[in-house]
């Protein structure tokens, strides 16, 4: 790694400082910083030629940073920093922390994240796009100023790779599904207007339209937004490259929206034309024909069932709450229409829907249509999903498929004890896990965790022996806590 160091502790600067003239010090330091920035900026490109060349790092301290952040030198600092793999600013004041963050935020136009645990980090946390505060021994000021609060620095990995990624996927799914279901529902009415002489007669009853988004299709999408996981948390950390899918906005771009919209249009065509063309001659067992409200109830039933089934198709992980909410929504629709059709009071505005569903459900036409229309509508979606997963899979789908046979990590730990035959290894680890557990060694400092210093080292396969002072610290902590 090649380090570019801009320090204010050089001999030349000390010499000028000893002379004591403030203006001269300021001018000299500015000249020095400018010269060094220029020099490093010229030197940096030659390291880019070879892909296996050393990584670049910039180290700058607070005094020089004060001059480097002036408008004339700011651009050079930014360019140089963006070319480096890491930039270390030491001895900076809180204001400078915020200034550096703003510089990157506005200059590089990237999403910035800042994380800190003390009161001096508050301005930096607020300057960045996403501010993360660590709650701990240094107090709660950082937490109160932040967007997200975590307890340990190492939880940042989980926050980004697991929860951040899931959150992006869930958000995309919820928003897309919302637009899709309303599009399918509304376009069905749109096709109806062609058959009404463009008079604007509504296809559905007023109550159906009002309650569609409130009761019949609302809860399942909330459940998806809460629980959907494309891959488990341990796999998310194992394949951090999957985070790039969010960075490149792969799930909510124009192509995705256009595809969902096309399928919504196709489904609305199926809903309207299948139902209306097949009901033009359908009648109940006594020859009586259907009217407008019977046809629209039939179509609405198909819409509700299809839209809920489509939700199940787009889930990556299905908990029992999904089944409950999807089944529940469909059942609520039937309960509602039974009650709505069965009751006619003096206060109804119109009695169009009286007894409609009972007559409908006494015909076999209803059941054949209810079997056919959702399947025909979802046929296109299913085909698209199958082909996309097979020939053009997303990265997370590849990971899903390669790990689909892995045992669930959420298996109850007791289940192993009930197995009759344990291999000697399993029996041994079982015994170990049943020993009394030690009290947690976390001391509450943000950057502290047992074995932290070797965490990243182990990622690269290197073994780093613990430092002597750390061993001593742990030993002292152990004696403090009383074993049970």
């Amino acid at each position: 790694m090649k380090q570019f160091i801009i320090s204010s502790e050089t001999d030349a600067i000390r010499e000028v400082e000893e002379r004591g003239d403030q203006t001269e010090i300021a001018r000299f330091m500015k000249e020095e910083v400018k010269k060094q920035l220029k020099q490093f900026l010229d030197e940096a490109p030659q390291y880019f030629c070879s892909p296996s060349g050393p990584k670049l790092a910039l180290v700058i301290d607070g005094k020089c940073l004060m001059y480097a952040l002036e408008p004339s030198l700011r651009i050079m600092l930014l360019t140089l920093s963006l070319n480096c793999s890491s930039v270390v600013c030491c001895r900076v004041s809180p204001l400078q922390k915020a200034q550096v963050t703003s510089l990157v935020k506005k200059g590089a136009r990237k999403i910035t994240l800042s994380i800190g645990d003390g009161a001096n980090d508050v301005s930096m946390i607020q300057a960045a796009h996403i501010g993360i505060g660590i709650s701990g021994l240094e107090g709660m000021q950082a937490v109160m100023a932040s967007d997200f609060a975590i307890a340990q620095f190492r939880f940042l990995e989980d926050l980004l790779l697991v929860h951040g990624r899931w959150s992006y996927i869930r958000l995309c799914k919820v928003v897309m599904y919302f637009f899709y279901k309303n599009l399918a529902f509304t376009l069905t009415q749109f096709w109806f207007t062609f058959g009404t002489g463009f008079s604007g007669q509504r296809f559905y009853d007023d109550w159906f339209q009002s309650l569609y988004n409130v009761i019949f299709t609302a809860l399942p999408v909330v459940i998806v937004g809460l629980f959907d996981q494309d891959i488990s948390s341990s796999l998310s950390k194992k394949y951090p490259e999957l985070y790039k899918e969010g960075v490149r906005n792969m799930f909510f771009n124009r192509r995705v929206v256009a595809i969902w919209a096309c399928f919504a249009v196709y489904q609305s065509l199926v809903f309207f034309y299948f139902v209306s063309l097949s009901s033009s001659t359908s009648r109940d067992s006594d020859g009586k024909m259907f009217g407008l409200w019977d046809v629209s109830t039939m179509a609405f039933t198909c819409v509700v069932v299809t839209v809920n089934l489509r939700l199940l198709m787009m889930c990556n992980s299905i908990t029992r709450w999904h089944y409950i909410s999807v089944g529940g929504s469909i059942i609520v629709w039937f309960v509602f229409i039974f009650i709505y059709s069965g009751i006619m009071t003096r206060f109804d505005r119109n009695d169009n829907m009286f007894w409609v569903i009972y007559v409908l459900m006494s015909t076999s036409y209803f059941y054949v249509t209810l079997l056919l229309v959702p399947v025909a509508a979802l046929l296109g979606d299913f085909l698209y999903l199958g082909v996309q997963r097979w020939f053009f899979p997303y990265d997370y789908q590849i990971v899903q498929e390669s790990h689909k046979d892995d045992a669930d990590s959420i298996n109850k730990p007791d289940s192993q004890e009930t197995k009759e035959h344990l291999t000697p290894d399993e029996a041994r680890s079982n015994e170990i896990s049943q020993l009394p557990k030690e009290v947690s060694k976390h001391s509450g400092f943000a950057f502290d965790s047992p074995g932290y210093e070797s965490f990243f080292a182990t990622q690269f396969g290197k073994y780093v022996p613990p430092k002597a002072w750390d061993v001593a610290r742990r030993a002292s902590m152990k004696s403090k806590s009383k074993p049970k």
Binding site: S280, M289, V368, Q434
Partner: protein, 485 residues
Amino acid sequence: MDTDRERHSARETAFYLFTQQSLPACKPVLTPGWVIAIFLFMGVIFIPVGLVTLRASHCVVEIVDRYDIDCVPESSRMDKVSYIRDDSIPKNCSRFMKVHKYMKAPIYIYYQLDNYYQNHRRYVKSRSDKQLLDGQKYHDTSSCQPVESNNNRPIVPCGLIAWSLFNDTFEFIREGAELKVNRKNIAWKSDRGHKFGKNVYPFNFQNGTLIGGGKLNPEIPLSDQEDLIVWMRTSALPSFRKLYGRIEEDLDVDDVVVVNLTNNYNTYSFGGKKKLVLSTSSWLGGKNDFLGHACVFVGCSSLTLAIIFMLLHVKYRRTDIISSYVIKGVNRVIIVPFAGLMETRVIYLGTGKAFQGDSDKIDIHSSFLIDDVLDFTGTSASLGKGSLSDIRQGVVTAPILFAMEEFPRLKSVIQQGFDNPANVDTALEYLWKNRGIQRSKELAIKHANLVAAAIDSLPESSNIDVTKSRQALINLTRILVTRNK
């Protein structure tokens, strides 16, 4: 022990699972096998359903006769509107309907209207359901405008729907004897019972200057006026049928039914059509092939798709994704074998692309393939790292993969892991026996040639730097492939 159990039980409560995002879930993965199975299943279900439905539809016998043009006498054909409006001309008409297939009782008589927009917004709105129940006692009939009152007296039933009541009548005669038509029970029972009052009588109906349709007998309560009830159930489409009555006798083949009808209703001012329909009924309803055809279409297309996917599955057999590599911490690679190991598809996670011809990425690919080969063939002196370090660390590399293909027994050895040094030796034995290493080398050379071909296929350039760098790239690939350390 107690704290352990407590901790375990706390970990299993639903609230803990919810907050820790670890609810038990099933994670369905749509593999090609499932796609094919589901399409097959759909085909198997829908084709019989469709055929049964089609058969039901073909069982229905239907006779349709359009009479509105032919029932106007020749002399008045130029101006049908004034003909139909003239009350002094008798509107009787005789039509002949020939039965082409045996029709079993009950035979339903429908009148069909085309281009008649009963679903127009102003029309659908123009009724008062409360007045139908309460009669003149109910006063808020503003929704019935403009047919609300006449000469300051309320109209019962008000509204455009009632005002435009269909009033053609039909009589059926077969072989001189009149066929009895049952005109009772043609409206929905719920309408008769609950929507139209039993004590409400028509009042001041069709008394205005503009006659819209039929008149109603003021002695019969609304709940028994079945024609009105049938008419007031507005239909969904501009072309609709409504039930007129039932014939309770069978009709044989080649019977000729004479229909004496009165052509009262005016559909001429807006270009509508009137038709008379005699139809039997099946368990599914009337004669409509649409459901049957749709079911058969869905079933057939599912089966076709299943067959297409099966062929694709055989041709591009995608066995389980084999392994993931880490290339010097650059990017994670997953090898997806397509139709055998020689045609692998390299997918780089995080870049959103799969490569089978991108030159610079294949460069790295062939480079690390050679790396793996050298791990086996080189010595620690020339390599700089311990030879066989890959296999000792349990990393499965390309030569082992090729060996696994030839010797399935090697797979079980590898699954046992390489902790046991005996396994390592067994694996090495298999490796030297087969051509695994040779094939790895061949694969690397093949990819290097692909790279060179790709570079050559770039368009010609006169810039010296460009040609120089291209030549450098080609040389680089050669060096990478033929290196010994």
